[in-house]
């Protein structure tokens, strides 16, 4: 219900003719698609289709050999990760990259890193401005903890949490950046049905409450179709479908890629 009432805006992220090669291996071939403001956009495809590579191109981790990416009117041929983060694009990782020995609170606090204004020196000495800033950031982090319903594990080292909760902490850290665009790399991988439902609800809530634009990769078709506004389908590094979940579901090429002969 919440999702249908959102106002989806103009295109904010436009990916044009991206090709990415690792030596002779073509990971992505001539991929184009766009993302509108406030929408939930999914990239799906079988294993090895190039989904994570696509996300890594947007994220500035990989540099595609061809193509360009336009974000909020600015066109880029080469991006790097810190630059992307500063532009308000955050991401989570398929193979969690959390600090296992640190508490949930501290892990999410690291997401505030870019927002910290006071210098290392002031923070180390707990000078007035640094302390005030820390309190403000802590409050923001507490709101995220409340939002993701992980209050009971606030002070638990992340490494001791079950996998589903770690995924939630990973999402929390990305949210701490107050991103405009959130890239989620297989947020539901390895989860049971209940955990998947929880995570779907959190993704929709993030989208509804904060208006965050969401680009997510997933290979569980069922979940994607339920929560996405539009879906891009990749197979062998090529785009084979693009449209609303219903359009994609009835696309014969997509059906073949998912249900056809074994690869």
């Amino acid at each position: 219900m919440a999702a249908s009432d959102r106002k989806i805006g103009d295109v904010i992220l436009d990916v044009r003719n991206i090709s990415l090669r690792f030596g002779g291996v073509k990971a992505l071939t001539d991929i184009s698609f766009n993302v509108r403001e406030h929408e939930v956009r999914a990239i799906i495809g079988p294993n090895g289709a190039g989904k994570s590579s696509m996300l890594n191109c947007i994220n500035g981790v990989y540099n595609p050999q061809d193509g360009e990416i336009t974000y909020r009117g600015r066109t880029f041929h080469h991006l790097n990760a810190p630059q992307v983060a500063k532009m308000g694009i955050a991401r989570t990782f398929q193979n969690l990259a959390l600090f296992k020995g640190m508490s949930v609170l501290d892990n999410i606090m690291t997401g505030r890193n870019l927002k910290m204004k006071t210098g290392l020196f002031a923070q180390a000495l707990r000078l007035g401005p640094a302390e005030r800033e820390e309190i403000a950031h802590r409050e923001h982090v507490e709101r995220i903890i409340d939002f993701l319903e992980i209050q009971a594990w606030r002070k638990t080292p992340v490494g001791r949490l079950p996998y589903g909760l770690q995924k939630r902490v990973d999402l929390g850290r990305a949210l701490a950046m107050e991103p405009d665009v959130l890239l989620l790399d297989e947020p539901m991988a390895g989860m049971n049905v209940e955990e998947k439902q929880d995570m779907s609800r959190f993704i929709l809530d993030v989208n509804a409450e904060f208006g965050t634009t969401i680009v997510l990769i997933e290979h569980d078709m069922g979940v994607v179709m339920d929560i996405s506004d539009r879906v891009v389908v990749l197979d062998y590094g090529k785009k084979i479908g693009d449209g609303t979940p219903d359009e994609v579901r009835s696309n014969p090429e997509v059906i073949t890629a998912y249900l056809g002969t074994s690869h």
Binding site: A2, D5, R6, D146, F147, E149, Q151, A152, D205, E209
Partner: protein, 647 residues
């Protein structure tokens, strides 16, 4: 005080001690305090808002959610207007709300969050009378376009405006309230048929709250943690009626998952928990001790052995030998004190348990470690307080002495009858059910079988209708047997059969946490509950427990015939969502016997194993299938006479 109403009690606290804390809630990791003055202002605004919305004297206001300060305020606001708050269980499925809302002709509802709003919208077609729904937490609800749905903030704002436009209206409404007006309605979970709305007046609730407070000398300094469902009358008494009667502080936990953390932070002085919570805490302690290092385990065992020997007598105020006093002080310093602290019970002055009979070992464990745990007797219909155990007179097998205002007698059939100022007015729109329990003579029939013992304590054996006879004429008290089984940390639930049979058989539910931990330490792999329950090793583990229960039963001449001859470990957890437990987690024995008839027949038919498929229902209403082949275990029964000779 006796002629007071909740609205007037609130105003009195706000006038006499405006800045004293009334409520605390942990928000964003920090405890936030609401003073009596601030609470009174909030209630005033809510009441004015409800009045403007059209809530009339005598009308019902449904309240659904966890313990949230603003939901308590909404209940107070309704009562200030002479309307009747009806709290419902927040974990009930949407369909379970239909009957109470129809029955009470509910037009207005105040709910906690999106989850509850979604449930009401789901059933709204069946509730034409429901016109307005207000929610406390706006999360996820921003874009809902549902007629009559609004945030509680909007109600507060509307109320403040209405208050300014109609000065004196609120005071007038509070003044117009009478002690004999209906104050609240509680739907009983009901083991059969529709739930029944139990109607209580301001007088009945406040009188009992007062009587209980006087009995235990409660004052405004008590700290209470509100963590049980507000729809349950016990929660209403401890965190609402007595809160307003005494003016102490009620603390609302951050979320259901943080209760044990919040308990430690608050350190309540007055605490109530049903036996299953004490059981759960003990299980956690035992599991953690099994994982502890050898020297710690040794120290713990030494301290516990001493505490078991000396502790209960110490709590009962009996004189102790000097050496025992010194030893206990040392054990208290090294083990018991830290243990109480880690349970969150450091400051507990009075702790109660009720709702189910408590296992004697479980009960004495808490007394032994120095917690003043006592039992009480009461029900929704009696506004809880009928019998309470005085300090120094706590017994595992009694429920205390009748307190001020209460008369008790036992009918010829052995049923306990009660007369008290706290008795219900009746069941809402159900005179037939009312007449069944409330006679012309003013005696309330509790439905419990029991007697008054030599020391004047009431002793409850079982539900009157559950106490049966076995074929040989032996008394069959299923709950007594089940409780003995459930004291073992490995057993979560048990269901005993035997009424009209020649022997007793039982179903057992393993405790996932405890048995899972046990299995891990033995490198026993398992895939989930069903798989773990079916392990032969687990069967053996439970068999040992059953054998110990049989040995224990054999020692009791009255109940030696109730020893368990066969049992099986169920393939799924008994669940309120499947109708197997009530919302207060009482076993619905008849329903279980019907649902698992093939298993019962297999046990009595001496089959070695039985295949079963069961449908399970999730909280959101979807269903799934579980199937398994269950092994049935035989356990030797000691004839009573032999046991006596051996002893």
């Amino acid at each position: 005080m006796v002629d007071s109403t909740f609205g007037r009690l609130l105003l009195a606290h706000a006038a006499q001690r405006p800045d004293a804390p009334a409520l605390r809630e942990k928000v964003y990791g920090i405890w936030q305090t609401t003073s009596w003055q601030a609470l009174a202002a909030q209630v005033r605004a809510l009441a004015c808002g409800l009045a403007e919305a059209g809530l009339q004297r005598g009308q019902h206001l449904v309240v659904i959610g966890e313990n949230r300060p603003r939901l308590s305020a909404a209940m107070l606001a309704a009562q200030a207007l002479g309307a009747v708050p009806v709290p419902l269980y927040q974990d009930a499925a949407a369909t379970e709300f239909v009957y109470p809302l129809q029955n009470a002709e509910v037009a207005f509802a105040v709910v906690e969050d999106q989850e509850q709003v979604d449930k009401l919208i789901e059933i709204r077609e069946q509730l034409p009378a429901l016109t307005r729904i207000w929610f406390d937490d706006p999360r996820g609800l921003r874009h809902y376009d549902e007629p009559g749905l609004a945030p509680l903030d909007a109600l507060l704002a509307a109320g403040q405006a209405f208050d300014r436009a109609h000065p004196g209206r609120y005071e007038h409404e509070v003044e117009a309230g009478r002690a004999d007006d209906v104050a609240a309605m509680f739907f009983t979970s009901g083991t059969t048929g529709h739930p029944k709305g139990v109607v209580h007046t301001h007088r009945s609730l406040i009188d009992r709250a007062q009587a209980g407070a006087t009995f235990d000398r409660l004052d405004s300094c008590e700290e209470v943690l509100a963590y049980l469902p507000p729809a349950w009358i016990g929660q209403n008494i401890f965190s609402y009626a007595q809160w307003l009667a005494c003016g102490y502080v009620v603390n609302c936990p951050e979320s259901a998952a943080t209760v044990s953390i919040d308990l430690k932070e608050i350190g309540p002085t007055y605490y109530f928990a049903p036996p299953r919570v004490f059981e759960g805490l003990l299980t956690t302690v035992m599991i953690r001790m099994e994982d502890a290092s050898a020297p710690k385990r040794w120290l713990f065992q030494r301290a516990m052995a001493l505490a078991k020997r000396v502790g209960p007598a110490r709590m009962d105020g009996q004189p102790l030998a000097l050496t025992d006093r010194l030893r206990y002080a040392l054990a208290d310093l090294l083990v018991l004190g830290p243990l109480r602290n880690s349970l969150g019970f450091s400051r507990v002055r009075v702790a109660y348990t009720a709702g189910e009979a408590i296992g004697p070992d479980l009960f004495s464990f808490y007394r032994a470690i120095g917690i003043n745990l006592k039992q009480l007797y009461g029900s929704t219909e009696t506004a809880v307080f009928v019998c309470l155990q005085p300090d120094h007179e706590a017994r595992a097998d009694t429920v205390g002495v009748p307190i001020a205002g209460v008369e008790i007698k036992v009918s010829d059939s052995g049923e306990v009858l009660v007369k008290s100022p706290g008795l219900l007015q009746g069941y809402y729109k159900n005179p037939a059910a009312t007449a069944e329990v409330l006679g012309e003579d003013g005696w309330y029939r509790t439905g419990d079988a029991g007697f008054i013992d030599g020391a004047g304590h009431l002793k409850i054996i079982d539900r009157a209708k559950d106490v049966g006879r076995m074929q040989g004429g032996n008394m069959f008290a299923p709950k007594y047997i089940e409780n003995k089984l459930k004291f073992f940390p490995y057993i979560k639930e048990a269901v005993a059969f035997g009424d009209g049979r020649d022997r007793v058989c039982a179903f057992v539910n393993i405790d996932m946490e405890a048995v899972g931990n046990w299995a891990e330490r033995r490198n026993l792999p398992y895939a989930g509950y069903t798989d773990l329950a079916a392990k032969p090793e687990v069967g053996e583990l439970i068999r040992d427990c059953v054998l110990q229960v049989n040995a224990d039963l054999a020692r009791d001449a009255l109940l030696a015939g109730c020893q368990i001859s066969r049992f099986l470990v169920l393939h799924k957890e008994l669940d309120a969502d499947d109708g197997e437990l009530t919302r207060t987690r009482k076993v619905r024995r008849g329903h279980i016997a019907d649902k698992y008839r093939v298993l019962v027949d297999a046990m009595y038919g001496n089959l070695p194993a039985q295949y079963i498929e069961t449908q399970v229902r999730f909280e959101d209403g979807r269903t799934g299938q579980v199937s398994a082949t269950l092994q049935i275990h035989d356990t030797p029964v000691t004839p009573a006479a032999d046991a006596r000779r051996a002893a």
